[in-house]
Symmetry: C2
Subunit: 226 residues, 2 copies
DNA sequence: ATCTTTCCCACCTAGGTGTGAACC
DNA sequence: ATGGTTCACACCTAGGTGGGAAAG
């Protein structure tokens, strides 16, 4: 009785999936969430900060998935693929190619690969809500695990992979979203990018308020009380 | 090549486990972490706050697990079992039985069951580090999912279950730790319990500082600058 | 000089504490 | 009155922002 209750708890999500989901992956579909926001950044060439200890991405990569087998087990991976063979440079308000890429990231183990922390999990789990990669951290140093190592001033294209985890793993899908391309930087180059990040990232609220209160000026006022 | 690299990434943790772990569950062992701390609370009868929106446990239940099959898939569940048939009352500095229990929690779906958020996962995952149940939330209201519903002024004993998730689920182990028994309350009854919670829970630091700075008195000083 | 990276910082978000008064 | 619960609150932990000076 108690055992039945326990197993029923474990299977809860799974059963819900079985009722609703698709039994095969034939109609697998992956959609990028918040594509409008990504496009705003894409239009002016997106930049992502890399730091020694790792920096989150903004915008955050979110996808909604459908068409998996609800009761099969999958892992979701994010792969940061070099978008070209160039090193880039920001001059006169524009990005320009500046020499060959340094191939450091290539062939270096898990270099640019991030495994979603919910992995592995049932198809039902991945499909019940949008999958959010808000914990990915980008770094320029080979570091403690779990972080994605990128080369600064190189362009990357995030790629999503879905792997079916069974007795034999098999790659189910890999999708790229052009909208999410970005150039890795250690400090923002284009102030339009900075402005967008501040505008939409809640964690940068401090700088948004400063601009709102004091649109022309710069710098926060010292406490002027006597 | 890229596919190989990806699958290798997914299997990384798994392979690490295969090398070190035990291929069967014959020698399964589960150990409670921070047992000394739990015992301090147990000696004076532990209490856990329940609130409408859910309250974390302190101490946090942590276990280290060994002896699983590294490449099999398991889920870990926490089950809050009524420790007796009584409702309890704190009078004259002591807990005393006060009438029959209200059987609300029993038979009510997932009432007292919490699934560890890393579930399901490989044996290797559960064994590579202590498993922490710091996200469990205890509530006295039937609520949004994921929270554990308990009856205030009733005594509970946390029980850990390990379920092997396969084509057919099977219960691998259930363990209880006497040290982790507690009485659910909406407000602390025994001030010794409060003192221990403040002493060891970093989130209650504010009250620790107040006592340290002003051991005899009560209340924080207003800013006395002119 | 110039370009890139690093570090510390004030300022946020997000949310976990027990308190004490109010509520029932 | 009594005993249990709820709520707003000040005060923390934990950690995510870009800025700007300094360093390489």
């Amino acid at each position: 009785n108690r055992v039945t209750r326990l197993l029923s708890a474990v299977e809860g999500e799974l059963r819900a999936g079985r009722e609703k989901g698709d039994p095969t992956e034939r109609e697998l579909r992956v959609t990028l969430e918040e594509a409008e926001l990504w496009k705003k950044f894409q239009e002016i060439t997106n930049e992502m900060i890399v730091t020694k200890n790792g920096r989150r991405m903004f915008p955050v990569l979110k996808v909604s998935v459908s068409g998996l087998d609800p009761s099969s087990m999958y892992s979701l991976l994010l792969d940061f693929v070099p978008a070209d063979g160039c090193r880039w440079k920001f001059v006169n308000g524009e990005w320009a190619a500046a020499g060959r890429a340094e191939g450091r990231t290539e062939g270096r183990g898990h270099g640019g690969i991030y495994i979603h922390p919910d992995s592995p999990n049932f198809g039902a789990h991945w499909m019940k809500a949008a999958v959010t990669f808000n914990k990915v951290k980008l770094t320029n140093k080979i570091n403690a695990g779990g972080q994605v190592v990128l080369n600064s001033l190189h362009r990357y294209e995030p790629q999503l992979h879905i792997v079916c985890v069974g007795s034999r793993h098999r790659l189910v899908s890999h999708v790229t979203f052009k909208e999410t391309q970005f150039i890795a930087v250690t400090a923002y180059q284009n102030e339009e990018v900075t402005a967008l990040k501040i505008r939409y990232n809640p964690f940068a609220k401090a700088f948004l308020d400063a601009k709102d209160r004091n649109p022309g000026g710069r710098g926060l006022p010292e406490s002027s009380d006597s």
